[in-house]
């Protein structure tokens, strides 16, 4: 991966953010640590100085200036970190272990910091000191403080350690972030590479998974599932176009033959007219097939949604029975309707009629004389079920799923007119309405269950606000 890509990638930005966050929190943590250690030293120094001042002021109060001077002299003589100096109004030292009034202290009163030459003649550089300055009556000035050289050294050690700690943290956070980002980028790259290969036409490719079940693994799994679905749809489309090519070639060839026949029959007008009549019928059949295909495609795409209102399924069933009763009777079949009054479903009236008519059409077409066809309506928790049952030849269990495929025709039904699209349309219409179609054995014959979801019903029996 080129560096430029890395800097632009989301993963790199995450890494930088991650480093910034960890460094930020470490800085806060170290700050607190510094305050708690070095700050403690400062506070302790000040407290010690305060205690000395307290003692001296006690002496001053009890024994006056002479007593104070005596104590200062006594304490100055002790070897230690204490610093004392009492001067007169002109600044000349009276008593104490400092030779001169420190320049840095000037004529300030209160807390002062300054540097002192190594006390006691010891071979040391100037060391830092901290003191408190008071003005006594008659212009006398008193300085009480401590040599904080050792403490400053400790503070420097702490600061150094903290700086190193911060440096290491920054390095680790950046390194870890980069490693993390490279890892993320690598896994995204794997997905990108696979996508590219798929776009180049290899639909069978899948994104490699590491089986960890983490987010990336799940993303890969979902994308793979999506790819499988797309592949299925693609092959379905290919199947349909193959079917169309196959099923259209036969009638088109027949049409062509008829037209040739008509051309050859120039001398026989009656025959010619008849052939042309047949050719027109062929074209009508082709157009009907095309329309049916388009219709199924449009319904499957859900384009007809939006005009559907409540449909009185009971009335629709009675109309259906009334329309088909004569044709069934003509073929020696008994058609009976056992409706259930007042069943209303959301839906498209014409499409539902078309679907149920197709089912009755099939029953009428395939049942032999003497058979009976029953149209029934049943309600089952939230579902309106239309049952079209016949005592005809039925459909073998193995074919009950296949018959819904476009252009599928059982071998023994090839002799019966039809496009092989009727049941595909029925299923598309059922799906459009959120329902389903299932085929069952009617022992003997076929029973088709056309199930539609019903809106919830309120206590007064009126469907809840039409949801369509």
């Amino acid at each position: 991966m080129r560096p430029a890509r890395l800097f632009h990638s989301f993963a790199f930005r995450i890494a930088v953010l991650h480093a910034a966050l960890s460094v930020g929190s470490v800085v806060v943590l170290l700050g607190f640590f510094y305050w708690a250690t070095a700050g403690y030293i400062d506070r302790e120094t000040d407290a010690t100085i305060e205690a000395e001042v307290q003692g001296l002021s006690e002496q001053y109060r009890l024994r006056g200036l002479v007593g104070l001077a005596a104590v200062i002299a006594e304490r100055s003589a002790e070897a230690g970190d204490g610093i004392y100096l009492l001067t007169d109004a002109l600044g000349a030292p009276l008593v104490g272990n400092l030779d001169d009034w420190p320049e840095a202290a000037g004529d300030r009163v209160g807390w002062v910091g300054f540097r002192i030459a190594a006390p006691g003649g010891r071979d040391r550089e100037a060391t830092p000191a901290r003191a408190r300055v008071f003005v006594l009556p008659r212009g006398l000035r008193l300085l009480v403080g401590r040599d904080v050289g050792d403490l400053e050294a400790t503070r420097a050690l702490i600061l150094g350690a903290l700086a190193w700690g911060l440096g290491i943290t920054v390095a680790l956070a950046l390194g870890g972030g980069l490693m993390m980002s490279r890892r993320i980028v690598r896994r995204l790259e794997a997905i990108n590479d696979t996508s590219r290969e798929i776009m180049e036409g290899d639909l069978a490719r899948r994104i490699p998974r590491d089986g960890s079940g983490d987010d990336f693994d799940q993303l890969a799994a979902n994308l793979n599932r999506m790819l499988t679905r797309i592949e299925e749809l693609m092959s379905a489309v290919r199947q349909v176009s193959d079917d169309i090519a196959h099923d259209m070639r036969t009638p088109l060839t027949r049409l062509r033959n008829r037209l040739e026949e008509a051309r050859a029959a120039a001398g026989d007008p009656a025959h010619r007219a008849e052939v042309i009549e047949q050719a027109v019928a062929d074209v009508d059949g082709l157009l009907a097939t095309f329309n049916a295909l388009l219709r199924i495609a449009r319904i499957e795409a859900g384009q007809s949604r939006g005009v559907s209102g409540p449909v009185d399924l009971s009335a629709l069933l009675e109309d259906l029975g009334e329309l088909y009763e004569p044709v069934a009777g003509e073929r020696g079949l008994t058609l009976s309707v056992l409706p259930l009054p007042g069943v209303r479903v959301p839906g498209d009236r014409d499409l539902l009629f078309q679907a149920l008519a197709n089912l009755v059409d099939n029953a009428v077409k395939y049942a032999s004389p003497g058979a009976s066809i029953d149209l029934r309506l049943r309600l089952e928790e939230g579902t309106a079920m239309v049952i079209v049952a016949d005592t005809g030849p039925g459909i073998p269990a193995a074919l009950r799923e296949k018959v819904f495929r476009r252009f599928f025709r059982a071998d023994d039904s090839r002799a019966t007119p039809g496009s092989g699209l009727g049941l595909s349309l029925v299923r598309a219409i059922a799906h459009l309405h959120g329902g389903r179609v299932t085929l069952e054995d009617n022992l003997p014959g076929l029973r088709v269950l056309f199930c539609l979801p019903m809106p919830r019903v309120q206590a007064d029996g009126e469907p809840v606000a039409a949801v369509f």
Binding site: G306, D319, E330, Q354, D361, K365
Partner: protein, 233 residues
Amino acid sequence: MPTPTEPFMRVLLIEDDPQLVSYLRKALLESGAVVDDARDGKEGLLKASVADYDVLVIDRMLPGLEGLALLRTLRAAGNHTPALILSALGEVDDRVEGLRAGGDDYLAKPFAFAELQARLDALCRRRSGDAQPTCLRIGDLEMDLLGRRVTRGGREIPLQPREFRLLEYLLRHAGQVVTRTMLLEAVWDYHFDPQTNVIDVHISRLRAKIDKDFPSPLLHTVRGAGYVLRATG
């Protein structure tokens, strides 16, 4: 086969497909109609607004001005010439949309000319709509709309309610070819494609009742088109 139209039908074809226009023009002229055409929406709107036609045939997809927009404009301007919408979009919602825009009938492409002609005849007849008759008559067949009785040659013919409606529709369009789809839409009120000859069987039942015992048949089958109720001789 030309059907008698009275006295002749003036049709405005608003359609941009020149081949379809020339075919329809020829076929309509042969059937005795007077045909004018417009090749785009704006021309169609202009012609429909200025001249008086009996019926308009409007394609939905037109250059210039879309068919339904044209129709809405016409209707808004108070022009109520019957209009038949032609469209390659034949689904139910398209039909509803077309009728809502002010169309009187809707025909999906591709269609048989017989179907178009039958529908145009029906539209023109609807327009000439005389006051609602209480009695319909052809030859010696009489339908009493108030008493819901049908007689032929003075003999009463008992009919089922649906047979009555079927015959009533045929009588109201007597002399015109009526297609199976028109019957399904008008008598059963469903727009769908039956896979079997359901309508033919209903017609043959009706025919058995009104024609069987009489010397001259009234209900004729028109091959490749539909049916016509016509007194012969």
